[in-house]
């Protein structure tokens, strides 16, 4: 029930943004939001876990700061006349539970400094890193900790 309400509100908010707040849009809007909600509930049935607002804020802050750092890091290497790369494939263990948390980790690492996920098999994640001299394992652990805080109880 909570998930239905939460998603419904989220979709209604997106509709309000899309229609730029025009009040006469809600006739079509209600139908569209209902269709999106139905599709969402069918495609991704709500799990047991509840999102934690503080965890969400913490993750958003971490994500913004890190993706800025990631962009700067790539930009510095791309602009430097002699590119200083030490690319390598690295395997790291994943402690997060299966499902959404792991998927989020894979996607987050794609946007964070220095790492692109290559393969997720069992409890090991294979990463391609631009510079193997950087503390990759430490950054992965940080991202994992932030993602673990997102849910009040594990999904």
């Amino acid at each position: 029930m909570g998930a239905v309400l939460l998603r419904g509100t989220a979709f209604a908010l997106v509709w309000w943004v899309l229609a730029e707040g025009r009040a006469d849009s809600w006739g079509v809007g209600v139908v569209s939001v209902a269709a999106a909600l139905a599709a969402s509930l069918y495609l991704a049935p709500p799990g047991a876990g509840r999102l934690s607002p503080t965890g969400l804020l913490g993750f958003a802050g971490f994500f913004l700061a890190q993706s800025f750092k990631g962009g700067v890091q790539v930009a510095v290497r791309a602009f430097r006349p002699a590119m200083d790369l030490a690319p390598a494939l690295v395997d790291v263990p994943v402690a997060l539970p299966d499902g959404l948390p792991r998927v989020l980790l894979v996607n987050t690492l794609n946007l964070l400094p220095g790492t692109v996920s290559v393969r997720l098999a069992g409890d090991r994640l294979r990463l391609h890193v631009l510079d193997a001299r950087l503390p990759i394992a430490e950054e992965v652990r940080q991202a994992e900790a932030r993602i673990a805080c997102l849910w009040r109880t594990g999904p």
Binding site: V14, W15, A35, A36
Partner: protein, 221 residues
């Protein structure tokens, strides 16, 4: 191809191109009448966006026939048969892709609804909304969440033809007015929305079908 044949093809292409250029130059200067005529009749069109007014009101029969053409294209593909072998189950995909599809498809549905609504007073409309819906179906198929279509069931057939049927039904009901698709001015907006909504779903299914039917035919037993 030998040199003579190649030269002949080049000459033919040049001749055709020259004829086209000549034809364009021969055209009378564009009539300033049409935009003014559209603007003058906007009040009775039932919508506020001139492109939608032209597509669904002033020249509604053009759009009617275009939808019929698209439907015929898909029917042609279906008539060619499902190919050998059985309909393939959805290909298994990794969790990352599936999560993207689960997240993005509801938003695409919302976007399609928005484009449908927007069509009444600004760029948007059934065709664009249908294309977004079709994109959602293709993404679901690529993520392994939607099987390819070997042969559509009754419900799907109804969905594919529904847009055209509603369009035709409205046109037939309005024949009493003396002309095809001349909407009564005070109901024009509602009727156009009804037609556009059913067209959105049908066009989405037809365009998705172009991908999903081919995918089924290509799969090997």
């Amino acid at each position: 191809m030998n040199a003579a044949a190649r030269l002949a093809v080049v000459l033919l292409a040049l001749g055709l191109g020259g004829a086209l250029v000549a034809a364009v130059l021969e055209l009378p200067a564009p009539h300033p009448v049409l935009p003014e005529a559209v603007a003058a009749h906007m009040a009775v069109s039932g919508v506020e966006h001139p492109v939608t007014a032209v597509l669904l009101n002033f020249r509604g029969y053009d759009t009617l026939l275009e939808v019929a053409v698209l439907l015929l294209a898909l029917l042609g593909m279906l008539a060619a048969g499902p190919g050998e072998g059985v309909a393939p189950a959805a290909l298994p995909a990794g969790p990352v892709l599936q999560t993207l599809a689960r997240l993005a498809v509801p938003l695409m549905i919302l976007m399609a609804g928005y484009l449908l609504w927007a069509g009444a007073h600004r760029p948007g409309g059934a065709f664009q909304a249908g294309a977004v819906l079709a994109g959602a179906a293709v993404l679901l198929h690529l993520a392994g969440l939607l099987p390819a279509w070997a042969s559509p069931g009754l419900l799907l057939r109804l969905g594919l033809a529904g847009g055209l049927l509603v369009f035709l039904a409205v046109a037939a009901a309005l024949l009493g007015q003396g002309a095809l698709l001349r909407y009564p001015a005070d109901h024009a907006g509602t009727l156009i929305l009804l037609i556009e909504a059913s067209l959105t779903i049908s066009l989405g299914l037809i365009l998705a079908g172009l991908f999903l039917v081919l995918a089924a035919r290509r799969a090997r037993p």
